[in-house]
Every structure is written in C-alpha cells, then in structure tokens.
C-alpha cells in the first residue's frame, strides 16, 4: 500500500505532507508523556519491532499470505502518540532507504497508513473497552475489532485522497471496490493476529500493554485463609488516586475528541458513498449506450453491470464499516458520559479499596 511518486498530484501531496508533519509533531509531544524521558530509545525499539513484524507473513489461504500493517497493534501496545510516531519513522526510513513509497508521497503514506490506522484503531479500542466489562478477554476483543476496522478505514482514507488528488480519473467506486475489498480480507488477518498478540503480551507482561492499563487490580493480602484488601498508608493512598483520576479523564477527553472527528469523518464518507456510486452507475450507463452504438454484445457491457454491482456491494460494506465504527464509538461516548453522571459509587468504592 506504499504510494509511489506521481500517484497523487503535487498540491494534495503537499497538503498531506503538512497534515503528516502536524501529526508527527503532536506525536512527539504526546510520546514524551507516554514514555517520559525514555522516548528516543523506547520509541526507536518499538519502531524496529514494527519494522520486523511487518516481515512476519501469515498464511491466509492456500498459497497466499499477507503481512501485518501494525498500526492498531502499535496504538494498543504503546499508546496512540508513540504508535503514530513509530509508524511515521518506519515509513520515513522505508522511503529513504528502501525506496518503498515515493518521497513526495511520504505525507500521503504517513497520513493514510500511520495516522488514520492508529487514530481509528485507538478511538475504537478505547470506546469498546469503556463499554465492555473490564476483563482481559474484552481487551482482546476490542483489539480485534479495532484492528479489523482500522485497515479498511485506511483503504477508505486512501480512496478519499485519491478522489481529491488522483492523477487519473479512475471512477471512485472502482477504487473503493478494489481497495476496500482487498483490505477487508487483510483486515481479518490483521485483526486476528493483533488480538492474539495483544493477548500473548497481556498474559506475560500486562503492565506493558498501554491499552490494558486500567485492568490492574489492587493487591490483596491473604490473612488466615481469607483475602483482605491491602491496608495502605493514607498518604500513599491519597496521592496516586487523584493522579489516576485526572489522567483517565484527560485520556477520555482526547478519546471523545477523536471519536467526534472520527464520527464526522466516517459518516461523511458513508453518506458520500451513494453519490459516488450514482456517478459510477451513470458513467457505466453512458458507457453501455456507447457500446451498443459501436460494438454491441462486447463483454464490456456485461462487465460494467457486474462491476456496478460489485461497487455497490463494496460500497455498502464500506458504509457498514463506517456506520459500525460510528455507532461503536458514539455509544462508547454516550455510555461514558452517562456512567460518570449517574453512579458516583463505583469510583468511590475503588478509591476506598486502594
């Protein structure tokens, strides 16, 4: 999916470059918070990990295999800021060292493959972990869904960029068909491997999984065969609790903003899809008439109809994904807002037990 030079025209590439630079700047600021002063070595090693994991081929069916994109995996394991940063660095190095992806298309590549995948995956992951019960299994399930949606979302984003600044007028419906169709398949593999990987890491070092930080349970003492809450020194108990509360609130505010952006973005394309399809249908209709005039009975007429159907199915698929993402994130937002307003008790109980 690395876009080469000349695929997207110069102005759109420049705009995408600015967007990518902004995202990297935000990532640099955020990564300092996520990794404190260990940013450079840790982010570098995580980038090396993503670089290596992209070489891990998994067999899809007889004879074919795919490889991980790693956006969702990075966002869930090390957090969205570090994730964006690591993928941007991987893409930069691939572009300069291995000529994989054009230099002028670097902005497009970072925006589509780095920013869209990580932001979509992380927003969805956060929303789902809010809704689902707080267990390890639900973290894995959320990772699965996040990775599943993030790959076609990147394909939709690519189609959008191509629609604005593509150098050739391939009908958008067809680009969408090809991109989303292929990437739904890739997404299933990506989702399974991402979820299993997150599960494997949680089983060994749950503290390393950024997306599962809320799962840590308070320590308990076994006194005379019964489990007793660990009696904590009042000073120690009072100081970490507000920090935790404030940081989750901050994460939640960021998640809400991301969800709103996501909902607007995705629903825009979900609603814009029929227009594109109508356009394709109209194009193909005109095409058919031309064919009837010129070479009646050519396979192209049949091909056109078949393709519109394909486009419609895949468009519908993209729509379903978009709506699903919006609903999931939206309900996550709703749930969280409602939960904060009504019961203060669970929060109080946890602070007491700590």
């Amino acid at each position: 999916m690395h876009v080469p030079d000349g695929f997207i025209n110069a102005p759109v590439s420049a705009v995408a470059g600015v967007v990518a630079a902004g995202a990297v700047a935000v990532g640099l600021r955020g990564a300092r918070r996520e990794l404190d002063d260990r940013t450079a070595p840790l982010a570098g090693l995580v980038a090396a990990f993503i670089f290596a994991v992209q070489m891990l081929n998994f067999p899809v069916a007889a004879g074919t295999s795919g490889h991980l994109l790693g956006g969702a995996l990075a966002a869930i394991l090390v957090g969205p800021y570090t994730g964006v940063l690591c993928i941007a660095v991987v893409l930069l190095m691939q572009g300069i060292l291995f000529a994989d992806g054009g230099l002028t298309a670097l902005g497009v590549n970072i925006t589509v493959m780095g920013v869209v995948t990580t932001v979509v995956a992380y927003a969805l992951f956060r929303g789902l972990t809010r809704v689902l019960p707080r267990t390890r299994r639900s973290t894995t399930v959320a990772a699965f869904v996040a990775a599943l949606v993030s790959v076609p979302a990147a394909a939709v984003a690519f189609t959008a960029v191509y629609g604005i600044g593509g150098t050739t007028d391939v009908p958008l419906g067809k680009v969408l068909t090809a991109m989303v169709g292929v990437h739904v398949l890739i997404g299933i593999g990506e989702a399974a491997i991402t979820a299993l990987t997150v599960g494997a890491v949680i089983a060994v070092r749950p503290d390393l999984v950024h997306g599962a930080r809320g799962l840590a349970t308070p320590l308990k003492l076994r006194v005379d065969g019964a489990l007793v809450d660990l009696p904590a020194a009042p000073a120690a108990a009072s100081s970490p609790a507000p920090v935790a509360a404030r940081s989750t609130r901050k994460v939640w505010a960021a998640g809400l903003a991301a969800a709103l952006v996501l909902a607007g973005f995705v629903s825009f394309y979900a609603s814009a899809n029929p227009d594109g399809l109508e356009k394709v249908a109209a194009d193909k209709g005109i095409d058919e008439k031309v064919q009837e005039h010129g070479a009646a009975g050519s396979p192209l007429a049949d091909y056109g109809v078949k393709d519109v159907e394909n486009a419609r199915i895949s468009g519908g698929l993209a729509g379903v994904i978009g709506v699903g993402a919006t609903v999931a994130v939206g309900s996550g937002v709703f749930w969280a807002v409602r939960r904060r307003r009504t019961p203060e008790a669970p929060g109080l109980r946890t602070t007491e037990s700590v």
Partner: protein
C-alpha cells in the same frame, strides 16, 4: 551485527556522488522528485530526459545499471495497478494490440509508471551512495526534529537485531517441525510477535538505562558536524536545476 552497519542498498565507493554531503544529496533528490511529479504527462520526451539525467548521475557514481534495475523491483505492486488502468478507466476507447483500451487510462498508466519509476530510481541512487549514519546526519542538518532523528537511528541500529531475533525464532519453530499452513497457525505467529514485542520493549528499557548511566540527558552530542561548501551545493543542485529546465520546457512546448 557481524556484517557491519551498512544497509543492504548501500554500495561502497569513492565517487564524486559518494563524497557529497548527505543533506545536499537529500535536498537534491527531493527537489528532483518534486520537479518530476509536477511535469505534465503529455511531455513524453521530458521523462526520457529525466531518465538520461539519472543515468548520468549513476555513471558518475559508478553504480552499474544491473544493480540499479534490480532495486526497481520494489515497484512491482503498483505496476500491476498501473497496468489495470487502461481497462477500468472510462473514456474514449482505442485499439492496442487488438484489445480495446481507454485513452485516459493509458495516459494515467504512463503517468504513474514514468513518475513512480523515476522517483524510485532517484531514491535508490541516494540510498546506494549514502551511508546510513551520514543519511541520518543529513536529515538532522535539514532540520528534522532531533528526537525524530534519534528514534530513526535507534530503529535502524536495532532493526537488524530485532529482525535477527525474529529469524532465530522462525528457525527454532521450523527445526521443531512447524510449518505455517493456514489460519490454525495464526496463534503461533501471534505469540511470536508478542514475545518479540516484550523483548524489544525490555531491550529499549535496558538501552535507556545504559545511556543514562553514560550521561545521557535527552539530547545526543553531535560529534562530527557535516558542512557543505558552496561548490558542493552547486554540484548537488545540478540534477534538480537541469530537471527544472526540462520541466519548464515541458510546460511551454
């Protein structure tokens, strides 16, 4: 790590192109690619001239044509996409070798193929004449944020280590009779990735501690300051300036 720190694309040599400061080369390649991308696709001869320019650079750098052509294989997936274009783009139809193809589709395919190939060739030339470390220094000289350059350098330095770890795990799996044959084996691969992540992360923590214990305060000291003289800049600028002239001709003619 035994194979030295040069990356696979690098080709050791002492040509005038090898000796140019890295940031000059980076700027020149970027300028060249931008010019190529903004050339109108109807000016077919302009792209031929760009090809000649790159061939000239390769000759000065003493990079054999076979080496360069082998590296262009990276482009293949998008070539496949480009070859599809004449069949899916609607518009005026024409006959080519007995097959009905569309004219705008042909132009689109040509556009992607020509510009993409020239871009890849320019990048390959840069990578095969510039050492890794100096490339990173060049990026830093071009005002890329220092933290980003540090992350990139860690990624490059430990990329081989991590990839080797992955390879060793793969050898271990295969020597125990494992063969990834379908969906059933995704779990095994995922556990590999999980183990790899934990190892990478913990190595990152160890590297950080090692750096702190050697006096790291958040910034890397710059040991060798690369500077470019006016003539070096002029030599590097030859490629994009000539390309710009070709591009302007392409727009006017």
């Amino acid at each position: 790590m035994g194979a030295g720190h040069a990356h696979k694309l690098y080709r050791h040599g002492h040509s005038p192109v090898h000796d140019l400061p890295p940031h000059c080369k980076l700027a020149a390649v970027l300028g060249f690619v931008v010019v190529v991308v903004s050339t109108p696709r109807e000016a077919v001869w302009a792209f031929a001239l760009y090809g000649v320019l790159l061939a000239g650079v390769a000759a000065v750098a003493r990079i054999p044509a076979g080496f360069l052509l082998k590296r262009l294989v990276i482009e293949v997936p998008f070539v496949a996409f480009a070859l599809l274009m004449p069949f899916v783009v609607p518009g005026e139809q024409t006959e080519l070798l007995g097959v009905s193809v569309s004219v705008p589709g042909l132009w689109g395919a040509w556009n992607v193929l020509a510009k993409g190939t020239l871009g890849v060739a320019a990048s390959v030339l840069l990578a095969s004449t510039t050492e890794l470390r100096s490339l990173l220094l060049g990026l830093q000289r071009l005002r890329l944020p220092p933290l980003l350059v540090q992350i990139a350098s860690f990624m490059i330095r430990y990329g081989d280590v991590i990839t080797d770890e992955l390879r060793r795990m793969s050898v271990a799996r295969r020597s125990r009779g494992f063969e990834a044959g379908g969906v059933r084996h995704w779990g095994v691969l995922a556990k590999t990735a999980g183990a790899l992540f934990i190892r990478s992360y913990e190595r990152g923590e160890r590297v950080h501690l090692a750096m702190v214990s050697r006096g790291y305060t958040g910034t890397m000291p710059v040991i060798d300051e690369v500077t470019a003289s006016r003539t070096q800049w002029a030599h590097a600028a030859a490629l994009p300036v000539l390309a710009l002239a070709v591009c302007l001709l392409g727009w006017t003619v």
